[in-house]
């Protein structure tokens, strides 16, 4: 800290210069933030504005990044399309995503707690197995997994998407890192109070990794909601389809579908997630701010 105190003297001497530099710095940061936000959002607003245009005007130049027409016909066509039952697909997607998310929050946090805070023979070896399995490209196991699912008689059921996703090595890793950042004293104090391991996990430790849990929950939900390959591989029946497959239906026979309809379909499919996020965002990020570390 010696260097810091020295600096204080120098910086205090040149206050006007520092204010100017601070102002320039502020401006650069704000420009960066705003430009990035625009870049991130522009394609989506282009999609939204295009989905509201007459299909033959999909590729008009100059492009519009805000709605200039309100032709909700595209949405109407998609919703009433005989091929697409958006309510049913919504329910299918939601059901699978919810089950998978809740299951992962439980299984991952339990394992992560054990890996971070309990000592048992082979712990590091087990953890290494988890870690290594996280790095297995899904293509390696796509075929054998397919055969396992087939032998369990689960092809063409939602279980084929749910069961393999009941846990994730990613989640275990994420939460283990979170548990590790908690003060070790918490655990010891609880033990001295005579709490069982389950109580320590459930009542003491779990509430403190809320941010990690909500992050894992969100990403698990999104991962399941947006899963494209799984449904494509396993689901054959129209009435079991999920949203991403429904979008593909909109692309039509040999890709002949109408782009404005595809864009409208994508908008409809991200709308529930957007709604969820508009509420969950507060929860997640404020939850993170209230982390137990401070207490």
């Amino acid at each position: 800290m010696a260097t810091v105190s020295e600096r204080r003297i120098t910086t205090q001497r040149s206050r006007p210069g520092r204010a100017l530099a601070g102002f320039a710095g502020e401006a650069v940061i704000w420009a960066f933030l705003i430009i990035m936000a625009l870049i991130e959002f522009a394609p989506i607003s282009w999609m939204f504005s295009t989905s509201l245009r007459d299909p033959s005007r999909s590729f008009d130049l100059p492009p519009d990044f805000w709605p200039t027409a309100f032709n909700i016909g595209n949405y109407w066509t998609v919703i009433t399309s005989p091929d697409i039952d958006f309510l049913l697909f919504f329910w299918n997607s939601l059901k699978i995503a919810l089950i998978v998310t809740v299951a992962q929050l439980i299984t991952c946090s339990m394992a992560a707690f054990a890996f971070a805070r309990l000592r048992f023979r082979g712990r590091d070896a087990f953890f290494f197995v988890f870690l290594a399995s996280m790095m297995v490209p899904w293509t390696v196991i796509m075929v054998p997994t397919f055969i396992v699912i087939r032998n369990l008689g689960l092809s063409n059921t939602h279980w084929a998407l749910i069961l393999p996703a009941l846990t994730s090595a990613f989640g275990v890793f994420l939460l283990r890192q979170q548990f590790l950042t908690l003060p070790a004293e918490l655990m010891d104090a609880a033990k001295i109070d005579g709490a069982s391991y389950f109580r320590i996990y459930w009542q003491v430790m779990l509430p403190l990794v809320g941010p990690g849990l909500s992050a894992l929950g969100i990403f698990t939900f999104l991962g399941s909601w947006n899963n494209f390959l799984g449904p494509l591989l396993y689901l054959r029946d129209w009435d079991k389809f999920t949203f991403p497959i429904a979008i593909i239906q909109l692309e039509g026979y040999m890709g002949m579908g109408n782009r404005a309809h595809v864009l409208a379909g994508i908008m409809i499919s991200i709308f529930p997630v957007l709604l969820f996020f508009l509420f969950a965002q507060r929860f997640v990020i404020q939850g993170i701010a209230m982390t137990g570390l401070k207490g």
Binding site: A111, A114, V136, A169, G212
Partner: protein, 314 residues
């Protein structure tokens, strides 16, 4: 590996626990096994079993319909003479390094930018806009980007032409196709990384900043001596996740460029998928996967070893 994995444990913990009685230890061990059981069981059935099966596949010729045939080392020998694989690994390396670098630098910068005093509404808008792409399906949005990046009459090239830039062959040129795939990945994942880093930033106790401020630290010094060291556990996690994720990216190239032109933007997983599910050469696909697996494992171990030099746990 053993030491590096447990390096997260603080020194005090290990010393304290060394004196425990055997009974307590076995109770703790039982609890440990019970806690990892559900995850372990799922992992065993749907991950480890299939992995073991793939390990056998390497020595087989298998088209998933006819019975598998033992071919010994033929698939491994074929790896050595596969010229396309080399180019595809080069692409993958460029993609992994490029995407990981841009995602993490960008994610951290955005998180630090957003994590500052500003009106709540503004923060909310910024966060929502930047996070929005994460909410969407990779395959669907790649389709949208394909429309935007079209060379002729494409939206982005039109915008560029307004500021005097010649049309860029985003998807059709060998140099640009891979860059487009990287840019799309960064666009899609930046919000994810921002949220991860934001969680890390907000986990840094305010008291540390206060203490530093009392010592007279300016903003740069706060960043340098408080934020950056304390964000390292998050960064470690984020980089490991990005590296592994980038190594396995599939949808991006699959939808955006189809791996083309030629092999210019083909990534290793796309190649494995094509060998396995287009050519139905499962054995060779497994052999290719093995190379990727080995590389990812090596990368991660390297990360863990290096982590001891730059990651600070409290």
């Amino acid at each position: 590996m053993q030491t590096s994995v447990s390096s997260g444990m603080t020194q005090t913990q290990s010393t304290k626990r060394r004196g425990r009685s055997a009974g307590l230890q076995s109770r703790e061990a039982l609890a440990g096994y019970a806690f990892i059981l559900p995850a372990l069981l799922t992992l065993t059935i749907f991950l480890i079993l299939p992995i073991l099966a793939s390990a056998v596949l390497i020595f087989m010729e298998y088209d998933i319909l006819s019975p598998a045939k033992w071919v010994g080392l033929a698939n491994l020998k074929r790896l050595v003479s596969d010229n396309r694989m080399l180019l595809i690994y080069r692409n993958t390396l460029v993609f992994v390094v490029g995407a990981t670098f841009l995602n993490n630098i960008g994610g951290l910068m955005l998180a630090m930018g957003v994590n500052r005093a500003m009106p709540g509404v503004l923060r909310y808008l910024l966060r929502t806009a930047i996070f929005f792409p994460v909410l969407t399906t990779t395959a669907s949005l790649a389709l949208v980007w394909q429309f935007l990046l079209t060379q002729d009459r494409g939206v982005i090239n039109y915008l560029l032409s307004q500021i005097g830039v010649d049309p860029v062959p985003w998807l059709s040129s060998s140099t640009w196709a891979l860059r487009s795939v990287i840019l799309y990945d960064v666009w899609k994942s930046l919000g994810f990384l921002m949220v991860l880093y934001l969680a890390g930033l907000q986990g840094i106790p305010e008291s540390l900043y206060e203490a530093a401020r009392i010592d007279g630290a300016n903003r740069w010094q706060l960043t340098r001596y408080v934020t950056l060291p304390l964000i390292t556990p998050t960064a470690f996690f984020a980089i490991v996740i990005s590296l592994i994720g980038a190594g396995q990216v599939f949808d991006n190239a699959f939808v955006l460029t189809g791996g083309g032109p030629g092999d210019a933007s083909r990534l290793i997983v796309l190649y494995i998928y094509e060998v396995g599910f287009k050519r139905f050469e499962m054995g060779y696909a497994a052999a290719l996967s093995l190379t990727l697996f080995a590389i990812l494992i090596a990368l991660t171990m390297l990360q863990f070893v290096m982590a001891r030099r730059w990651v600070h746990y409290e």
